[in-house]
Amino acid sequence: MILDAEVVGALAVLAGLRSMSRRRLAMILDVHHAVDALERIRSGGPLSPEVEPRADVRERLRAQASTVSASRRAVRCREVGVSVTVPGDGDYPDALMSDPERPAVLFFRGDSSVLADRRVGVVGTRNATAAGRATAADLGARLAEAGVSVVSGLARGIDTASHRGVLGSGPGRAVAVLGNGPDLAYPRSNRDLLDRLVEGHLVISEWPPGTPPEAFHFPLRNRVIAALSEVLVVVESRASGGSLITAREALERGVEVMAVPGSPRSPASEGANHLLRDGAAPVTSVNDVLEVLSITPPVRVASPRRRPSSPLAQVLLDACRDGPRSLDQLVSGSGAGVAPVALAVAELVRDGWLVDEAGWLEVAVSGLPP
């Protein structure tokens, strides 16, 4: 069903008001038609008593609504290829219909049929380790291989890695839930990723085009990720990370939460390890996730293990297995001079054993066990 331009414009204006909480928006749209609601807010006319906001909020809403034009908003949605959907509409995701805090309106780009696939959320910290990003990319790729769609949030780190993993694989597709308008890439470095996602994948937001990211949008965004997932995998999370909010939302909705175990010494895995302690299922391989979805994993051929050439290189590689190491630490630990260690490290990086992250050396993870 295609909503007519007047309704699209009114929804885009209402959803883009800064003082309009998602909860209030849902309540108002429950009792008023969008065009009518916008008219009343603009003119100061009475809203239904059970949704009438406080006088000061009302005044702010009026001021904010009076500065934007509904028709221009509708044109903007059409220009950037954003579709609008509301509960009851054919494009509205079934997974959200029964949600207690379902979004009253969704703006999306791409192919909404992606949500008909099996769906796994892959989330984690923005400041991820190389190993964490490799795991996320791997999960994305291997889940997509099994035909599963992967839901994440387009943030830096784990989110980006999982999206890219899906894009480099298939047939499963990617779903990106944003905390800003679906026409904006945040972080900006993900512009190219966003452009690729709108081609055949899906980008969803509760905010109309042009809405900048705000800190308070992201916990709301996380609830949508949780609600859209059948299984939620936390790859890496610090002790107080946003992905733990997603995990909590998932638990409230009865979505299975899984976590990738990390070293107890790694702060980047602290949150994920806490989830495991509290009863989340561990992800030791992609098959663990597929098993929860009752999908038979595709058969893969394992590549043979290699070893680095020199004994010094082996010592250095082993030293990096416990977590990122600086060159100083490697030199002190190995007892060799700076020059030979630097050469061995350079060769390890060149041959793909180690990754150099701004001076921190980490073991490159080639893939999860099948």
Binding site: G132, R156, P324, V338, A339, A342, R350, G359
Partner: protein, 504 residues
């Protein structure tokens, strides 16, 4: 009656000859000063008169005119007091006019007739080192360092008159130690105090041996300042000429030492410093700034990202030319400023070294933090080294590292090797010289080719890496004109802090 006395004033780090001409003639009693004295210099009028009277001498009840020739440049400060007083005494025949010939005077007068120290005696003496200079006792050391003639110390105007009248002899100032303040007063920070941190230690050694500018990047408490303070201890003594320049600059800035400076200075201006404090300045009297005070030694900028960008910008001229010039409406002063720059910065706002999974900063704020340093200035650093907090084991082991003396002897040999075969320190080698002196062996070539093919090494970075590798080779006592893979890898690892993706 007329008398003419030789003295000097200081502008920047250089002295300018000033002839103090005093005319005492008929007319209403008055005292006029000509020749562009500034406010601080004009005050000499009352000081000189009081000093003469309190020394038991008489002040002429006539018209006194003092001319400070040449009248084209502004004279400032109190250093001309003594010369003016001597001129008045000579013009009123309280002194033998012959006693002025072949002599020059510098010093400030107290109201009681005592002669006090002033800043800038060394550059004043430098105007004509052949003269017999009469200076305040406290300044004999720096004056002797510059002078080629006799230096006389005087404690009061009365004493001077007695000596010239033949009723007393010159007092002997205690012979100034020719050794330099750095060595005499401050115990040298020893490298042995640094535990662990092998890469940072090596970087210091390389910086000392090759004259490379060095940037430390590390968390608070990692020991960046401690490391930087140890660089002067690794550098060789200053040669005579540089030592003279340093003595002059320090004297002009009023941080004079008791003799010829022989140890490289270490200056660490705070990041709130203004550009005038760093470069030098002042409206009338141009004073050497921190970068000139660091001439011949080490300029350490801690928290480099916190310096105002405009202030950092002023460093560039000095880094290029080894001098800094300060322009004012009516004069233009050039001061020496050839220093070795050591910078230090946190890797990000939170300081947690950007360790994956530990650092709380997002990439954008980290990028913004470091981009304050980016550009032409960052480009000057051949060495950019990450400093991490020392390992607990290293701290507790009680095992002291190699001492500064051992490292300094290696540094001296490497510097000698560089000067002997190439005529310059490695930091000054250009592309052509590098092709000749830092040929790459096979392993090194493949390493660098690989880095370049991956787009992680730019052309400029290529030169810098070879320069540092050449210094490493010199330190290792390697005589051949080529450098091997080990050294190139070590050089690469010492400039990879910011963005391993592109080592510029």
């Amino acid at each position: 009656m007329i008398a003419s006395v030789c003295s000097a004033s200081v502008l920047g780090a250089r002295g300018h000859r000033v002839m103090v001409e005093v005319h005492v003639g008929p007319g209403l009693p008055s005292f006029t000063m000509l020749g562009l004295p500034d406010e601080s210099c004009r005050e000499a009028r009352d000081r000189v008169r009081a000093a003469v009277l309190s020394s038991g001498l008489s002040w002429p009840d006539r018209r006194v005119t003092v001319n400070l020739a040449p009248p084209t440049h502004r004279k400032s400060g109190s250093g001309l007091d003594l010369a003016i007083a001597v001129g008045v005494l000579a013009a009123t025949e309280q002194l033998e006019p012959e006693s002025l010939s072949g002599r020059a005077f510098a010093g400030e007068l107290g109201l009681d007739g005592s002669v006090r120290a002033v800043a800038g005696v060394a550059p004043m003496v430098g105007v004509d080192p052949g003269l017999e200079w009469v200076v305040p006792s406290a300044c004999v050391g720096e004056a002797s360092a510059v002078s080629r003639g006799e230096v006389r110390s005087v404690a009061s105007l009365g004493e001077l008159v007695e000596v010239f009248a033949g009723r007393a002899v010159w007092s002997r100032a205690a012979d100034a130690p020719v050794g330099g303040r750095a060595e005499a007063l401050a115990p040298v920070d020893d490298l042995a105090d640094v535990r662990g941190q092998p890469v940072a230690r090596l970087a210091l050694e390389v910086a000392a041996a090759g004259g490379h500018h060095l940037l430390f990047v590390g968390s608070p408490g990692a020991g960046k300042t401690m490391l930087a303070r140890r660089l002067p201890g690794l550098l060789p003594d200053l040669d005579h000429e540089t030592g003279l320049e340093v003595t002059m600059v320090q004297s002009a800035a009023g941080v004079g030492s008791p003799g010829l400076v022989v140890r490289p200075p270490f200056r660490a201006p705070h990041h709130t410093s203004s550009s005038a404090a760093l470069v030098g300045g002042g409206s009338h009297m141009v004073r050497p700034g921190e970068i000139s005070l660091a001439h011949g030694g080490v300029l350490f900028l801690d928290e480099m990202g916190q310096f105002a960008p405009a202030v950092l910008d002023t460093l560039r001229e000095a880094l290029e030319t080894g001098r800094v010039s300060v322009g004012r409406v009516n004069h233009h002063v050039s001061m020496p400023a050839r220093f070795q720059l050591v910078g230090a910065t946190n890797p990000c706002p939170c300081g947690e070294a950007g360790a994956p999974g530990v650092c709380a900063c997002d990439e954008r704020s980290r990028h913004r933090y470091l981009s304050r340093l980016s550009g032409p200035l960052l480009d000057r650093f051949d060495l950019r080294v990450r400093v991490s907090r020392p390992e607990v084991g290293d701290l507790l082991s009680g095992e002291r590292g190699e001492s500064s003396a051992e490292v300094a002897s290696r540094v001296a040999r490497a510097r000698a090797r560089a000067i002997e075969s190439r005529g310059m320190l490695n930091a000054d080698l250009d592309g052509e010289a590098l092709d000749r002196w830092a040929r790459l062996d096979e392993a090194a070539t493949s390493l660098l080719r690989d880095e370049m093919e991956r787009g992680r090494l730019t052309g400029r970075g290529y030169h810098r890496v070879r320069r540092v590798a050449r210094t490493l080779a010199d330190l290792a006592g390697c005589e051949s004109a080529s450098v091997n893979g080990d050294l190139v890898a070590a050089a690469l690892s010492m400039r990879s802090v910011f963005d391993r993706r592109v080592v510029s």
